[in-house]
Symmetry: C2
Subunit: 238 residues, 2 copies
Amino acid sequence: MAAFRAALPPGTDAHPVAARLCAIGYCLHLPKGEALDPDPREDRLVHIASGAAKLAAQPLADAPRGQVLAFHFAGDMISVLRQSAVESWGNFRLVALTDCELAVFPAEHFLDIAQTDPAVLRSVLARSLQALHRSRTRMMQMGHKSAQQRIADFLVSMAERLAGCTQGSCTFALPMSRRDIGDSLGLTIETVSRQLTELREAGLVATEGRSKVALPDVAALARIAGRQGSQASMTPEN
Amino acid sequence: MAAFRAALPPGTDAHPVAARLCAIGYCLHLPKGEALDPDPREDRLVHIASGAAKLAAQPLADAPRGQVLAFHFAGDMISVLRQSAVESWGNFRLVALTDCELAVFPAEHFLDIAQTDPAVLRSVLARSLQALHRSRTRMMQMGHKSAQQRIADFLVSMAERLAGCTQGSCTFALPMSRRDIGDSLGLTIETVSRQLTELREAGLVATEGRSKVALPDVAALARIAGRQGSQASMTPEN
DNA sequence: CGCAGTCTTGAGACAGATCAACTCACGTGG
DNA sequence: CCACGTGAGTTGATCTGTCTCAAGACTGCG
């Protein structure tokens, strides 16, 4: 049940409505490699209590390889939209990269309750605007970034999210495969591998085994990635 | 003042709090080519009553060309974040592509008032989640789309937003330059031009003058663009 | 220890960028 | 109203970066 409280936006987990929100969710263990089976009827909000997961497209006929929308880790709150009735649309699913502990809420019901406390709802809004802000920034940047910049950006993001590190040096394990990395960055596994090699030769990355990486200078990587701030908007664009 | 009411989320413009929201905003005429001068102190919500605008990065020293985050048209509600104190971050500004009528609200104050009515706040949340959803989809798709697919996708989006057309044929005028299009798609103006030529030769696009375009078969373009659905999340990704 | 799958490395192909003319639309002033 | 000039747009030739195809090497598992 503690997971349910943690699923609420920061600063509201001790709030009176928290108990009511807990009542409508359920816990779920998702083993490594398994997918959260999609519910065609309603949107859901998923909180990752522990583990790592990817939001990925099911390999379609016209899509040569599965596309990865995003990676999510412990503490993340994800909005999993119901599967579209439109056939041509891809079906996206949450797939566990490692064993995961999840808390799942029906979105409508969750918001109905959150709505009774404006502060909670506003907190959720702030969170989604922040996500939009970062998504926007990334979208734009990805549009004109080289493979090396994308890899550098990816590593900096992972350092921040997996090791809570934004400068200096850090070491952590990547829970996803090279293929997943490539699919999320729009690159092939060969290019991912080559760029990692280049960064390694430049002394900016050290690798051990398949997943462990060490970044001696996160700030230098961020500089290569050309990290910049951006804006958020509340309307669909382009 | 009518513009203020229209700035509210759909379905709430007749609501009691609407009047209070109107009281804190102000109208502004932004001539073509001019930028909304940024306020370093607070975030703002901007409603475009009429006209077209782009959200673009100021040309930085290390950025060869200004990058376009998104285009916005009449009816759009935009969240313009305050300029970051961090120097290395790009400063983004709203620039008018045509003469614009804007309604500007201080974000904090706006939400303080909207918060008094959960339904309004929830409507704003739904709107931002939708924006996030589409931003996410685009980001992923852009990662592995060809130049022709990006142009086709762009044209379909514009048909939808400027002419309210999702299938059949339609004609409209693009308010932005080829450079703006390229900057928003991560392509050069030469590539934009070449792809438009190819689509023209394929009979999928007709152009007249600099800005007018006719799409005989929007659905066919959407097919080329490889349009698919996706998911939304409330947490920053990658 | 050996197998299977992941990762790395190499050679050639292709899409898009870059550099460079050239053409045309549109606004301006005669 | 038309001639003109400027900047936007188009088109062409070449070059670079990433994908593709193809082996090979390592990791981690049984």
